[in-house]
């Protein structure tokens, strides 16, 4: 029997083990087994964690938006949707941050600068800021339903706002047709083990996301339950005080 109570179940433990194994394999393939790129040299190794990171961020934010939409449109307004949305948003922020850092380092090596003002990078930075705002709104306090409604609307607004910002920035940067030393759209020819490593990265990070979101939303559930219990206790003690 489980001695310690936690957010884990046997299913998540198995998932965790699988994720750990895959990530270890990824590190080995990425750093050791796979070959260097003809053009990029060893910096291509950064791609095996950079691409999966931003991939997970996108998945996370899509899930946040979908769960927010489901919460707002459903009659039952089950808070499960809100909690998954919140957990997913938090994970998304972390992975966007990771991808911005790894991408920035990649740029430093490849182009000599930590940052370029191109559409994709700028939009990614905006994505990060927007969801930092989302997390801040979730911490505004109030009832669980207020939190769910406010952050839900915000997540849906983000679905509209992010493409608009991206388009505007693209329009803006197209004015600056300087010689692209920093060609962020450079296609890299991947084959064999390199391609496998990339897929491995995407799959293992996706499973990692699943593990993280399961646990995080359970923790949110517990936090909400504790808060509710505290509230109930406060109401009861208030009532007791009233009945002198």
């Amino acid at each position: 029997m489980t001695s310690r109570k936690s957010t884990g179940t046997s299913a998540t433990r198995w998932l965790g083990v699988v994720v750990l194994l895959m990530l270890t394999l990824l590190a080995l393939c990425g750093l050791v087994f796979s070959a260097e790129d003809v053009v990029q040299g060893s910096t291509v190794r950064l791609m095996y964690i950079h691409v999966p990171s931003i991939w997970v961020a996108y998945i996370a934010f899509v899930i946040t938006a979908l769960c927010s939409a489901t919460y707002l449109s459903s009659k039952s307004r089950s808070l499960v949707w809100d909690r998954v949305a919140g957990a997913s948003g938090e994970i998304g922020v972390i992975f966007v941050a990771l991808s911005l850092v790894t991408g920035s380092l990649w740029g430093r090596i490849t182009w000599g600068t930590y940052w370029v003002w191109d559409a994709r990078l700028t939009s990614t930075a905006f994505l990060f800021i927007t969801y930092i705002g989302y997390l801040a709104v979730r911490r505004l306090g109030g009832t669980h339903r207020q939190r769910a409604r406010r952050s839900g609307v915000l997540a849906l607004l983000a679905v509209i706002e992010i493409p608009l910002v991206h388009f505007s920035v693209k329009m803006w940067r197209s004015l600056h047709q300087d010689a692209s030393v920093a060609n962020t759209n450079a296609k890299v020819e991947l084959d064999g083990l390199m391609l496998f490593s990339l897929f491995l990265g995407v799959v293992s990070f996706t499973l990692l996301y699943a593990w993280l979101v399961l646990h995080r939303q359970r923790v949110l559930f517990l936090e909400d339950a504790v808060a509710d219990r505290g509230l109930d206790a406060a109401i009861l003690s208030r009532r007791d005080e009233a009945q002198v």
């Binding site: 936690s6 884990g8 260097e36 990771l98 380092l105 990692l208 646990h215 517990l222 504790v226």
Partner: protein, 44 residues
């Protein structure tokens, strides 16, 4: 490997960040679960 510091640093940094986050989640879950009734933990 050229730029080994950057590359190994990135892998390590990513791994450490994710590991810290994961540990934080698990620990928080254990702390909260200690005082929770079974009704409050529908996944068990």
């Amino acid at each position: 490997m050229e730029h080994a510091t950057f590359i190994l640093g990135s892998y390590a940094g990513t791994a450490v960040s994710i590991a810290l986050y994961a540990f934080w989640i698990i620990r928080r879950g254990r702390t909260l679960a200690e005082h929770a009734t079974d009704a409050e933990m529908p996944w068990t």
